[in-house]
Every structure is written in C-alpha cells, then in structure tokens.
Amino acid sequence: MISDTIAAVSTALGEGGIAIIRVSGPQAIPEVAKLFRSRIPLTEAESHTVHYGYIIQPETGEQMEEVLVTVMKGPRSFTTEDVVEISAHGGVISVRRVMDLLLQQDIRLAEPGEFTKRAFLNGRIDLSQAEAVIDLIRSKSDRAFSVALKQVGGSLSQRIQALRHTLIETMAHIEVNIDYPEHDVEALTAEFIKDKSREVMEGIDKLLKTAGEGKILREGITTAIVGRPNVGKSSLLNALARDNKAIVTDIPGTTRDVIEEYVTINNIPLKLLDTAGIRETMDIVEKIGVERSKAAFSEADLILLVLNASEELHEDELALMEQIHGRQALVIMNKMDLPPRLDKRKLLHFFNEDSIVPMSVLEEEGLDKLEEAISALFFGGKLESGDLTYVSNVRHIALLKKARKSLQDAYEAADMLVPIDMIQIDVRLAWEQLGEIIGDTAADSLLDQIFSQFCLGK
C-alpha cells in the first residue's frame, strides 16, 4: 500500500554505546544489501537473523563502518513491512556516515513518527492507540518544524535560496519559451541551461564541502546561558568548556555577540550560547547584542539562568523568569562563596527544587551538580532536539546530493540536445529538492517568477 522505503536513527543521539538505524519498506532489504558486505548476502538472509559485516561505499567498495545488521521480513516486523536494522558504534560520525549512504539509495528519511504511523496503518497497532499515534506525529512534527524554522534564518538557507533563485529564473525562461512560443523573449539555448546548471552545481559543491566531516559536531542541544551582566555567565561557559572536552569552537559566520562553545557532558553534545546580558538598553551597539541574544534565547532547547546569590533578585530577573517559565531550564545560584542575599523561596515560584543548582563558578564548586542536572533532563527524555537538528542535517546533505545529481542529468541532457521541456523536468526536480531543505516547495512561485520576469499578454 505504501511504496516508499524509509530510514531513521531510532536511538537517541549520544557519544557512546550503540546507535540503531531502522529501514522499512519494500526496498529495505535490496537497498541496504547494496551497501553491506557480509558472509551471506543480505538478500539471501533468512528473516529474524543477525549478520556481522561492513557498510561499504558502493562505488569504491571501501569499508566505512563495522556493523551488525538484523533482517526482519514482513509481516513479522514492527511496521509489517520488510525491516532492516543496522547497529553501528554510537558516535555521531559513524551514524551520519551510514545514514548518508542510505539516503543516497532509493530510500528517504522517515517523516516524524512515520514508523509508528505505518505500523498503525498496516494493522500492527491496536485501534485504541490511534490517538496516541496522532499525538506522537503531532508532537514530533511540531518539534521538527521548530528545528527547521531555526535553520531557515541561517546562512545555509540564504545560500540555498540564492541557488534556487538562479534555478527559478532559468525555469521561468524555459517555461516562457514553451508557453509563449511566439513571444519575443530571448530564445533558450542549450549553452544557457548548461551554464546555469554548472553554476548551481558549483554552489552545491561548496555547501557540501562546508557541511563535510570537519564540522559535523556543530549540532547539539542548544543551550543558552542567560542572566544580567556580571553574574558570571562567561565564567560558567569557560568552566564547562575547560572541564569538558571542547570539540569545536568559534565557528566563523556566527554572530560575534553570542559566543558558542561545543561541549560534551556525559556523552550529551551541548551547543552552549553565552548571550549578552538581557537588559533593555539605549546603547545601539549593546542593543544589537541584546536583540541577538534574545533570538538565541528563543531558539534554545535548554536555558541556564545564572543569578548572583549575593544580591537580591533584580526586577529584570523576575521578568526573565516569567519568560523562561514552562521551558526546559536550570537556575544557577552563582557566587555562593559570598554572603547570600538571594531569597531562594522566590525562585520556587517558577522552578522546582531539582532545577535549582547552587554554585560558585569562581571556586569551581557545584559544577558536577549542574552536569548531573543536565544529564537527568536528557536521559529523562525531556531534551531531544539535538537529535532532530542532527537528523535534519543528514537530510540536507542527502537532498543537496540529489539536487546535484538532477542538475548533472540536466547538464548532460542539454549537452545531448534533448528538448528543453524534458531538461526542465530535471531542473525542476533540483529546484524542488533544494526547496525541501528549507521547507519551501510552493509551485505557484514559478508562475510568479514568469510573470514578473517577462512581459506577456494579448
């Protein structure tokens, strides 16, 4: 009934242990078999058996990852379709490599909650669970949506939009030639299509390069450190970074006012953002910093609010606590080494006892308590967006590669003087694939482009 084959990482993202990638659908076994080298070919494997072997690069045969692969043939599987589960050594890099290869086959990334949806639609899950399935799809989709939105503002999105703009201008040109054959618009040549395809392919190559292995670990639980000036935010960031292995620092292109650090606490990847002090200000320079920190604040998965325990609660801080209320947050009562003047009872209004951590960053006291509190949130299942950012990046790369392939097809077709309306099929596909990355696939924009770019009429 459902013909696509889908894949997703089905374990939480972490630095250690085993990660499981699940593939489901009619093509699951043959498609994974193309990438898997073992004693018995996967296509000949019996149902419910486990196989040891290597994920290989199909073109070169190069061994990429040592894995265990489990085959479960439908209908005796979770989704009732053919399912293949690949167990890889945990780390982000190995999981990404495997996903990357899978998504270049005839396999697409599962939508949020899609395995469960299929299990339900195929009668595997009891009718009484319908609402639970709907809730799961809704919550996962909303979460994925907010993560996707986060990326739309970024430079990736701008660059993709620029590439799409080149494509849509080209498409409009082709369409006008087709739909208005007698109009005095510039006739379209194969050279023109080749030039434009090449231009966009080069752009995609650049993007793929920057998205390469070196910066893989840029994802993590986005954690904003917020608080008034001079409460010890930067010291906390430095202490966490010193205490834990900092993997990547100071990514170019990020804002100067928000400092980012990547740390791993108990195998949980965190992207720490130190924001400029949140305080309404008249100073223009500082104001820009504050605006940006508000943005960082609003996109954070976890908020660390730093207070000065040696001072009474400031009204700015009360306002801040109101804003934070209801989100995943920990409160750090810093400067416990000084005489305390902060009334903890006021905090209990907004936060429960467990999320308040007394600390002295200067004396390096209480850091372990903070790390424990973060771990408790993560393993308690309350933090998970790192997962989605990570997964959506795998998806981006797969889509970038697919778009590049489509343009290569268009280029070659133009080279062979295939009619332009056929070449258009591939150009349009590339445009749609790039659009999927930034969540824009509206077909109407092509017509808008045609009518704004060309003067047509009777």
């Binding site: 009934m1 459902i2 013909s3 696509d4 939508e111 949020p112 909650g113 899609e114 949806k117 339900f120 639609l121 009718l127 319908a130 609402e131 399935v133 709907i134 809730d135 799809i137 809704r138 989709s141 909303d142 949506f145 369409e175 030639n177 087709i178 739909d179 208005y180 054959p181 007698e182 109009h183 005095d184 062979m416 003087l417 295939v418 009619p419 332009i420 309306d421 056929m422 099929i425 509206a442 092509l446 017509l447 045609i450 009518f451 003067c455 047509l456 009429g457 009777k458």
Partner: protein, 628 residues
C-alpha cells in the same frame, strides 16, 4: 405573471464555449436538455481573440475531442489558419493553434446544436434559480417562464453584473455591448454563494484596408496542417496569414502621457485582472525598460475586414486608443472599427465546487467556464464538457467522472480551481501540469477516448478506429524490439541519419531511441507489413524515444493515484480529529476534499496533517467495518 415552460433533465444557462459543450454532452448522453441564452445570435461567440489553441489550451481542445466534445471538430471546419507551435521542442509541448473565422465558428456550432436530438435552444434571461428541499429544481426567466429540471449548469461567462470600462466611461454591459445579467448574480448571493469581482479586457479592432501590411512581417499558416479532431483527416479551407508589427517609442509616450485617464491606475477598476494578460498600459508601466512590444494583426474571418490587434488590450479612452494605434508602424492611417475595453464581472469562488463541478451548497447546480474564475475559450469548454457529463450522470444516478492531474489538462485545471481557488482569472499553462510529458497533444485519445466511450460520447465506429490504432502501435513497438539487425544491414542507413555505426548486433527499437534516427529509417530497413499512417508512426516514435522520461513520470503518477484512491467520507468532521493543526482543520472543512490526494494539495495542510488524517481514516474505517 408566469407560465410553465416544461420539464428537462438538464438546463444550461449561457451559450458560450462552456455552455455549448455542456449542453451537447448532456443531450448526447440522452438527457432532455435545454439551453437558455440572452441572445441566440451569440452562440459560441468569441468576444476576444479570434483564435483557438496554443500550448496547454490546444491540448485541452484535443482532450475535449478525445472525450467526444465539439470544439475540435468545430474549429477544424472553420479555421482560416492552422499552425503547430513549439515544433523545435519535445513532443509533449507541440501545440496546435488555429485562427478562426469567428462568424463561421458561431454559425457552425449553432447549426450542430440545432440538429442535436434532445437539445432545445431558447432565447431568454434567467433571473432566478428555483430551489426545492435544498436541491435546485428549475429556473425562472425575465419573461416569467418557469422551466423545471433535475440539474442546472451555469455558464454565464462575464455576463454576471458585467460592467464595461473605458477611460472615464463605465456602463453596465456584457461583452460586446450585450445585456448583462444582474438579477441572477443577486440571486446567487441570496442563495449564499461567495462571489468575487474579476476583470479582463480586449483590444481594438481595425479595418484591413487601412493597414499598410508592407511595414509588417507576414506570419503564414502551416503548409501541411494537422487538425484538432482525431476525426478530421483533411480540409480544403483556404488559409489567411497574420501579420506582426511592434509598438514604437511614440506609442509608449502617448500611454505615459495619458496614465491619468487610465482606469487601471485611477482606481475605477476594482476587479482583479490576470497577470498573464495585461493591458498595454500595464505592460508599458511595469516593463518600462522594454522599448517595444509585439503586436499581431489577426483577421477575424474570411468575409469581414475587421482585424484583431493582439497585444493591445486596453481600457484607455477611445481618443487615446486611436492615437496609440496610429503610432504603430503599418497603422499610421488606420481606422478603428471597435474600441478596446475592460470588463468587470462576478465570478464564483471555485472552492465552493466539488471536483465534479457541482456546487457543494446547492446539489444539482453545476457551474463551468469563466464564472468559475477562469479565462479562455478552451478552459471554459473543458469545464463545460465535464459539467455536462456530470450533470447527465447525476440525472442517470451514476458516479461523477473526475479526471486526475495525470489524465489531462482538464484534470489539472479543475483540480487547481476546486482545491486551491484562484485570486486572478485562471489561465492554463503547460507549467501547471506536473506530468507534462504524459499529457501530450498526440496522446489525448490514448488518455481519454476509453473514458469518452464508457460515458457514451464516443461512437462505436470511432472507438473501433481508436482500438485498432492503439493495437497497431503496440504491435509495431513489439516488432521493432524483436527485429534483430546486424551492422552491415543498418550502418549505411545510419550514416544517412548522421548516426554512429553499430559494431555488434542490435535491434530496431534500440536504434530508434537515438534522437537523430527517425521512423523513416525503419521504413527503409524493415517496413511494417501493416498499414501504418503518419499518426501511428509518430506515436511509435514518441513512445520509443522518450520511454525513459515517460517511465520516470509514470512512477510519480503511481504514487499520486494511490493517494487519490484514498477517499475521505463526506460526513467526516475535522473538528473531531484532535491532532490536526487549526489552519488545516479550517481549510479541510472549507474545501472538503474527496481524497487524501486532493487534501494534500490544499495550501496550509502540512505532511504531518496528512499523516494524522491517514491514521484517523484508518481508525474510522476499522470502526465502521467493525460495526458492519
């Protein structure tokens, strides 16, 4: 003061291109059909350009013909020029366009209608729909005649509260100074329908003898024309050329100097006009860097001196229009016979329709053509035939026929209208179709004639010819695949086609895949024993040459059709589905999609909403099944 005008199965209001197809389809399907129109001299009138076809539009005419409609046959009888456009491009976008003798076109269509059994023609202005038990049951005319019927099809074009605008002048009117229909529009509002105000326009007409054609370029028709109808095999019609000229800088100056008198800019025009069909003043303002615009001079018929000035649609005052015309090379001394004008009219918000073109609000009432927010004769006729078919099927107690987006441009057009609505007069473009390569000019019969036959609009004789053609093409493709050839048998012929020689054995099908190798190559190496005409050879060639691309699109279509087949029950209450986003809930309730496929094309309905809808439907179906 009223009297009974009789009872019918189907009443069609309006006799434009939508009305004619609707009435003919219903009558030919055996329904007692009445067509009422304000002026019987205006049957199948062309109020704007005297031409039919072009990309996407020409495809629709082929589809109408493949279904058993009239437009293709009628233009084949009355053309004064035929041209195949886009011949340098792929076969999917080859597009036939005809210049019509607009008077002959009308008279021929009217004669066909008059001779059609079951069809009655009446002149009259319908002012009110009769509604009984929530179902339409007839119409009342201005003269008080009451006609009863099981279904009514509205094809009122631009007549609903029509208003003509030119410079500072406005007056209530239909196209070409016909009486507008005012009361019917009010009646539709009273019945609860949502109407919008659209605008369109037409250029001036000029006298042939006052044009200096030596300053223009000739645009002749094809020497060996192809026809719209699969039934037309030859024609003796004499062809007339069109002529091409350009606006001048003086033209643009005149327009710029008179913008304060242009209703487009002074705010007199309230309706939304189409972007793809702007007036000349709009073009000059929006594309100010363009120094000239194309103007085509098109004859309106054999026995008239009127020429249509394509490219000069305008609502500027009459004196400015004349000045503009005379600033164009070749028209320095031109005589303007009719001025151009803009026309505003009421149109239905088309999301109020089911894909069958029946209104959701009033069962039995169908609407088709420009009233649904489209523009163009072909778009109107395409909807007309579908509305006629579905009204007849409703009378006969049968399920409606709905074409999907992979079956025809008509399917694309109607699906766009009822699913997305339109905020400007809608024109078909080939780029609106996802499966352009499948919706070719050449294969309209393969796509739709079996449907036309099932419905009862295609005769046994024509269907037999169709199945024979299809079988011959299939047999020939098989034969080419099975015909093995050796290098020494074909290399000489390949060289003549500038094609590389083969080294090993091959077969004819493989060689036909080469872009440069035409079917005449087969004729030379191994001619078919069957009698294949040019149309069949063309079909063989296209199916072989573009098989790779066609296959790619067919895979997409398979997925589409799975989603189209998942029907949504009519009694679904979207407010019961707790996981749906608010926007999706509102849109789904408003559009009431008939399938998951249609639901997924509604803007604002996300993939997550569709997943949730699927889960809910599965739940619904299992519960319903359990209840038995």
């Amino acid at each position: 003061m009223s009297y009974d005008g009789g009872s019918y199965d189907v009443i069609v209001i309006g006799a434009g291109h939508a009305g004619c197809e609707a009435a003919l389809a219903a009558a030919r399907m055996g329904c007692r059909t009445l067509m009422i129109t304000i002026n019987l001299d205006m049957v199948a009138f062309m109020p704007c350009n005297p031409s039919i076809g072009g990309p996407a539009k020409g495809h629709v005419v082929r589809e109408i013909d493949a279904l058993g409609g009239e437009m293709g046959r009628n233009i084949d009888k009355t053309f004064i020029q035929l041209r195949m456009l886009n011949t340098g491009k792929g076969p999917a976008v080859h597009a036939l366009r005809a210049q019509a003798d607009k008077f002959l076109y009308q008279h021929t269509m009217k004669e066909t209608m008059e001779k059609t059994p079951n069809l009655t023609l009446r002149q009259g202005m319908v002012e009110e729909l009769i509604v009984e038990d929530g179902h339409v049951s007839g119409v009342i005319t201005k003269t008080g005649t009451v006609y009863h019927s099981k279904t009514v099809i509205l094809t009122t074009g631009t007549y609903l509260r029509g208003k003509v605008i030119m410079g500072e002048l406005t007056y209530e009117s239909g196209p070409n100074n016909q009486q507008p229909s005012v009361k019917l529009s009010e009646n539709l509002r009273e019945l609860g329908f949502e109407l919008v105000r659209f605008k369109t326009g037409t250029p001036p007409r000029v006298h042939k003898d006052t044009i200096d054609f030596s300053k223009t370029e000739i645009q002749p028709g094809d020497e060996h024309p192809k026809f719209f109808s699969y039934e037309t095999k030859s024609s003796n019609n004499e062809q007339l050329p069109c002529w091409l000229t350009y606006t001048s800088e003086v033209t643009h100056q005149i327009i710029n100097d008179n913008l304060h008198r242009a209703p487009m800019f002074t705010g007199i025009i309230e309706g939304t006009g189409p972007r793809y069909c702007p007036s000349i003043e709009d073009k000059v303002v929006r594309f100010s860097d363009k120094s000239k615009h194309q103007i085509f001079l098109e004859p309106e018929g054999k026995n008239t001196s009127e020429y249509y000035v394509q490219g000069l649609s305008t609502s500027l005052p009459e004196d400015v229009q004349l000045a503009i015309l005379r600033s164009i090379p070749g028209m320095e001394k031109v005589e303007m016979m009719r001025n151009g004008y803009a026309i505003e009219y009421d149109a239905m918000v088309p999301t109020q329709l089911w894909p069958s073109l029946e209104t959701k609000r009033l069962p039995g009432l169908f609407t088709a053509g420009q009233i649904n927010g489209t523009s163009g004769y072909e778009e109107a006729a395409g909807q007309g035939i579908m509305a006629g078919i579905n009204a007849a099927r409703k009378v006969q107690g049968k399920e409606p026929v709905v074409l999907d987006r992979s079956q025809g441009y008509i399917g694309v057009l109607i699906d766009d209208l009822v699913t997305k609505g339109t905020n400007e007069p809608y024109r078909l473009l080939t780029s609106r179709a996802e499966y352009r390569l499948l919706l070719r000019h050449d294969n309209a019969d393969l796509r739709l004639t079996p449907i036309g036959y099932d419905i009862g609009l295609i005769t046994e004789e024509r269907y037999a010819a169709f199945t024979d053609k299809k079988a011959r093409v299939e047999r020939e493709i098989t034969r080419l695949q099975e015909t093995k050839v050796k290098p020494n048998e074909v290399n000489e012929a390949l060289a003549d086609f500038n094609s590389a020689p083969i080294v090993d054995g091959s077969n004819l099908l493989t060689l036909m895949r080469r872009p440069e190798v035409e079917y005449s190559f087969v004729d030379r190496i191994s001619p078919s024993a069957e009698d294949l005409d040019d149309e069949m050879k063309e079909q063989v060639e296209i199916q072989i040459k573009y098989a790779g691309y066609i296959e790619k699109q067919l895979q997409h279509v398979e997925k589409l059709q799975k989603m189209e087949q998942k029907k949504i029950p009519e009694d679904i209450n979207y407010n019961d589905i707790h996981g749906l986003a608010m926007e999706a809930r509102q849109k789904l309730t408003k559009i009431a999609p008939i399938s998951i496929g249609q639901a997924s094309r509604i803007s604002g309905v996300t993939p997550a909403d569709i997943s949730i809808l699927l889960v809910y439907l599965e739940h619904y179906n299992r519960v319903t099944a359990a209840k038995g």
